[in-house]
């Protein structure tokens, strides 16, 4: 795929993964028994988009999803949406999904030939946890005037859920790579 070219097929992939991320909001949140933190399926969206579509298309899919939320559609878990969510305390995470999908996609493109579940899990965790939380936590800390360490500790209860989701995304990504490979090495394409 040429760097600056987005074919019709790419547009369709981008649009359908944005729609998939939206559809994930329909799954009821699962509560982790021990700590009582609700885990929503939605943040699988950036992991799947990045791991399956690659950096550019994955990030554009999530950018489209974020734009759909911004124009007022109730696509976030719990039926939230509209410009207001970006001004809430956790607005950084929603914007962070775009960056997470990009990083996850970049890592998957880089490790595409020898991709296995463990590698894919690590890539998903780097993008979907480290990058995402870095953005989410710094936004929250800045926006609500909390010290960054306290914010990070308060956010860490959600990490377990995201570790599970990274594992799930990795299994799906590797299975999809076999059945329906989309990311290709730039040298081949």
């Amino acid at each position: 795929m040429h760097a600056n070219r987005t074919s019709t097929r790419d547009i369709v992939y981008i649009a359908l993964f944005a729609a998939l991320t939206a559809a994930l909001s329909l799954f009821p949140p699962i509560t982790i028994p021990a700590i009582g933190v609700p885990v929503t399926a939605q943040s699988l969206g950036p992991m799947l988009a990045g791991a399956i579509l690659g950096a550019r298309r994955g990030a554009l899919a999530l950018l489209l999803f974020v734009a759909l939320v911004a124009v007022g559609l109730p696509l976030l878990s719990g039926g939230r949406g509209g410009l207001g969510v970006f001004f809430g305390p956790s607005g950084g995470y929603i914007v962070g999904w775009v960056a997470a999908a990009f990083v996850i996609g970049l890592l998957h493109e880089w490790g595409w030939r020898s991709l296995n579940v463990v590698g894919s899990f690590i890539y998903c965790a780097i993008g979907g946890i480290i990058v995402l939380y870095a953005m989410g936590i710094s936004w929250t800390a800045y926006y609500v005037n909390m010290p960054i360490m306290e914010t990070a500790i308060a956010s860490s209860v959600f990490v377990i859920g995201d570790v599970i989701k990274a594992g799930l995304a990795a299994v799906v990504a590797v299975a999809v790579k076999r059945a329906y490979p989309i990311i290709q090495k730039p040298s081949i394409a």
């Binding site: 600056n4 070219r5 987005t6 074919s7 019709t8 097929r9 547009i11 369709v12 992939y13 981008i14 649009a15 359908l16 993964f17 944005a18 729609a19 998939l20 939206a22 559809a23 994930l24 329909l26 799954f27 399926a41 699988l44 799947l48 399956i52 554009l60 489209l64 999803f65 734009a67 759909l68 911004a70 124009v71 007022g72 559609l73 109730p74 696509l75 719990g78 039926g79 939230r80 949406g81 509209g82 410009l83 207001g84 970006f86 001004f87 809430g88 305390p89 926006y143 609500v144 005037n145 909390m146 306290e150 799930l168 299994v171 799906v172 299975a175 999809v176 059945a179 329906y180 989309i182």
Partner: protein, 237 residues
Amino acid sequence: MSGEYQRTSVIHRLDAGFKLLVLAIAGTGLMAVNDWRVLAFALICALGLYRLGGFTMRRAYEQVRPMRWILVLLFVVQGAWQSWDLAAVVVLRISALVLLAMLVTLTTRSDALIAAIEKMLQPFRRFGVNPAKVGLAFSLALRFIPVIGAQAQEIRDAQRARGLEANPIAVALPLVLRTLRMAGDVADAIEARSPYDDDDELPPRFAEKAASTPARTSCTQTERQLETSSISRSLPL
């Protein structure tokens, strides 16, 4: 977010791009203010705008309701650890900004906002952004959110019948594969209809593809949907 678009007020009639611009300015401005009295005044102004837009105060409260416990928690934590002044600043700022942002959402149709986004993208043409393609992506996503949602429901029901509802992979993997197959079908349908997309170079590839594309009902439906702008459809979500 069932916006009450039927109603008209001064705020409803304002240009979508203008409202977004005002929101951006208000957002930047309120982030710079650190006096709780000014922010309380901003909150009252925001509520006044709801009145001007013909909304009840109850409707305004509904907009911040989903985050009310976070706001209470923030207020208590900030007040106990730092100062009550800061606690008031933070909570008032978030409430005012969320109210203003949701007012834009409530008084502006989604398609008007999408049109505003497309217009804002015009200057980025030179960087390779094609606003028409952005519009296509928006319409496609809107069209397929209910479709993929229905697919997700179908797969969950099927796996429940097999006793697999507790296995998230049994749901996620078929959903992703179906989405990818659907994407392939839709792309074929679009290419069959308009091969001379400004990025596609050669017709022969298209001719070959069109011949090999099976006529599927889902594709026909898709094409019809693409013709009539699907943006204005209300979503059954």
